[in-house]
Amino acid sequence: MNIADLELSVTAMPTRFPLSRGTATAGEWESAALAIAENHGRLVTIWASQKRNGQFVVSAVYDIENGELLWLDLPILKKEAKYPDISSLFPAATRMQRAIKDLLGIDADGASDKRPWLSHGAWPEDYFPLRNENTGKEKSSQVQVDDYQFVTVAGEGVHEIAVGPVHAGIIEPGHFRFSVVGEKTLRLEERLGYTHKGVDRAFQDFSAVEGYRLAGRMSGDSTVAYSWSYCMSLENIWKWRVPTRALWLRAVALERERVGNHLGDLGAIGNDAGFAFGLSQFMRLREDWLRLNKSVFGHRLMMDYVLPGGVVGDIDPEGLLQIRKQCDEIEIEVHTLQGIYDDHSGLQDRFLTAGTVPKELAVRLGLIGLAGRASGVAHDVRVNAAAEPYSELAVNISVREGGDVAARVDVRFDEVFESLRLIRYLVENLPSGSNRKEAAPRNSSGSSAGWIEGWRGGIFTALDVDSTGQILRCHVHDPSWQNWPVIEHAVIGDIVPDFPLINKSFNLSYSGHDR
């Protein structure tokens, strides 16, 4: 399918990946969504904003076909404050639309689920933090935690298990409501939003050059991907040409972030299956990995390493050598551990068939990123919308068809090896030049987007800045929005004690999702 087939007036944007943008009427909004859904397009994100003049705009970004993005804006009248629902076509839109309602008070007309999502009753029903008349910092005197209506399951012997938001371990908060018969899960319903920080509103207090710092703190384990995604959108607006060396260094950092997270997850997945040996070994490797981050990039998670125009510091030949050497060492160890995981009958018994997401379901629900690739959805921003330097790297995408925990483990192993290969290539062929563009912030207004494959999946940023260099609106989208609802389906029919393992195999972000 081509964007031209949609018969909308769109213009191609000068971004580093294929992106067209257009304004739609309510009718076009619906027909475009229908046409895209019928042609197996994907919803990337949907958000809303209020312009300075009070005008509401709902925006959606679709992945039309293999990385070809379409950004549609739908201006709506303030007195109407509603727009046509697309969640019947794209199930992933449901929670995004509910979040729009909570933050801006505009309704998805015709949506079947209109419960609040991010708002837990901590602010009044008629208060909308993203509206112009509010600052988002008002304190509400009548905080009333709402009685959230979970969907109930009735039947002989059915009962509910409520888990969280406070857990027995030290993890992020989220509530999970299981309806079970004995040990069998009939239904799971998630309730998230406990780490809602009002990041969207907080962006408006930042200047555009500083915003990368906030973006890099939305989900700490993906800080490089977040800040790169932000910087990419700002560099697109200001038409900055980032030095090639800086882009390559960003890629080194991004791949190191991916490896670091995969190492931690592989250990944690083993541990959740009762195999503590796996955790200790992988955590040891991860620790070595993070320590080198600290000495070479200045921060264990490489926070604030990527900034508009390039990266904070260059890496000297000694540092490059250390990175290269560590790749070789880790590769040998991970190979050994992969052998142990693969040959361990007890582990494989837990991994295989647990939390299966068949490809058909993954496509229908819009599962993306790592979890998507484990369910046969061959999508990776580094491949499908490869911006420099990935356009030169020819990333080998890892796709498995199983869709179960074992498949997600396999994809992680594949991606560790692939990222090690990429890092070695990047540091060996690192172009010379500057690590940062020395330029004063421009004072041109505009909006643009960034799209980077974080370790969970594509992180999309839509940024709007004014001519004084202030952020008007910044929407950063975490792939967890798409993937959280899929877990509700993945656990159906599985037993309750398998849930932590299944959940860990996805390891989605709470903070990035709750914003």
């Binding site: 509910e160 888990v163 004995g182 083993g270 955790l279 582990l347 018994d349 037993i495 004690p497």
Partner: protein
């Protein structure tokens, strides 16, 4: 030396040494996964900490919830008192035999499960339900193990069995090999160890034993934890009494105690190492594999008994 003293020693030893055994197992597990570990004394520090904390009670808790830790601790203490650990000369042992021992474990299980359900949280009930699943399968398996051994001693009294195996005449009993294998499986299941349960887990949805004591705090939790280590100790010494009884004294004389104590320590250390190895090498079973696991134990126990009846050994 009086028999009362012998009995006293065999009660005090478990109370004092049970946390050490647990600490040893945890330390071994840490070493086996390249960690430094908290040291073998960690369970004592834990108990000290818990006894100095206030006990917080849920509003919905009944007196059963309050009473259960004492009942569980008491049962475990009595169980330890009737197992010949250092000498077979135990006054209490004639009052309770191997079947009563299984009964004591069942009594503790009933109290801990009832207390878990008493508060009315989902996790307590979930843990109690799973505990009952494990328990009702483990008990018959344990009984077959004990019957195999008692067929040799022609008695269900534990001191008699020990004397028959250790002191009568040296012989190899094939039935005990099967019973021993069955016992290891029951041991893992009953003490909430990997692969059946994971004592180190923080995942509330996967817990069995930990889920049941999730609502306990302060001294109640301390008693529950201590009782759990006493149970581990009781199972270890029971295993020693049935399968490695050499070294257990017949009379509680100072000289026999001098021999019995080091041999007990050595055997417990070995059991700790084996347990840590098993736990390091295994992943946790899916909960519905646990019945298969315990059915295997039962089968091995029955084979042990049949072997004795058919071969007369």
């Amino acid at each position: 030396m009086s028999r009362a003293f012998s009995q006293l020693i065999s009660i005090l030893t478990p109370i004092l040494l049970a946390p050490l055994l647990l600490g040893w197992v945890n330390q071994m597990r840490a070493w086996l996964s390249n960690r430094r570990g908290p040291g073998v004394l960690q369970p004592y520090r834990m108990l000290h900490k818990l006894f100095n904390k206030d006990s917080v009670m849920a509003d919905t808790a009944s007196s059963l919830f309050r009473f259960a830790p004492y009942a569980v601790f008491g049962s475990m203490l009595l169980a330890n008192a009737i197992i010949p650990t250092l000498s077979t000369d135990l006054p209490l042992a004639s009052a309770a035999d191997a079947i009563a021992l299984v009964g004591l474990f069942a009594l503790a299980r009933i109290f801990i499960s009832l207390a878990a359900m008493d508060i009315g949280t989902a996790f307590g009930t979930l843990g109690a339900r799973r505990e009952m699943l494990v328990g009702f399968l483990a008990e018959p398996a344990l009984l077959t193990v004990l019957f195999s051994a008692s067929l040799i001693g022609q008695s269900t009294a534990l001191p008699t069995i020990v004397e028959a195996v250790a002191h009568k005449h040296f012989a190899i009993y094939p039935s005990l090999v099967f019973a021993g294998m069955a016992f290891i499986l029951v041991f893992l299941a009953e003490n909430a160890r990997v692969p059946v349960d994971n004592p180190a887990t923080h995942l509330e949805l996967t817990m069995i034993h930990e889920a049941m004591i999730l609502e306990y705090s302060g001294r109640h939790l301390a008693l529950m934890e201590w009782a759990a280590s006493l149970k581990l100790f009781a199972y270890s010494t029971l295993g020693i009494a049935l399968f490695l009884p050499w070294g257990i004294g017949q009379k509680a004389t100072p000289s026999s105690l001098l021999l019995a104590l080091p041999s007990l320590a050595l055997k417990l250390a070995l059991i700790g190492i084996v347990l840590a190895l098993v736990e390091t090498f295994s992943a946790k079973l899916r909960i519905f594999r646990v019945p298969e696991f315990l059915a295997t134990a039962f089968l091995l126990g029955v084979i042990g008994m049949l072997t004795h009846i058919l071969l007369g050994a």
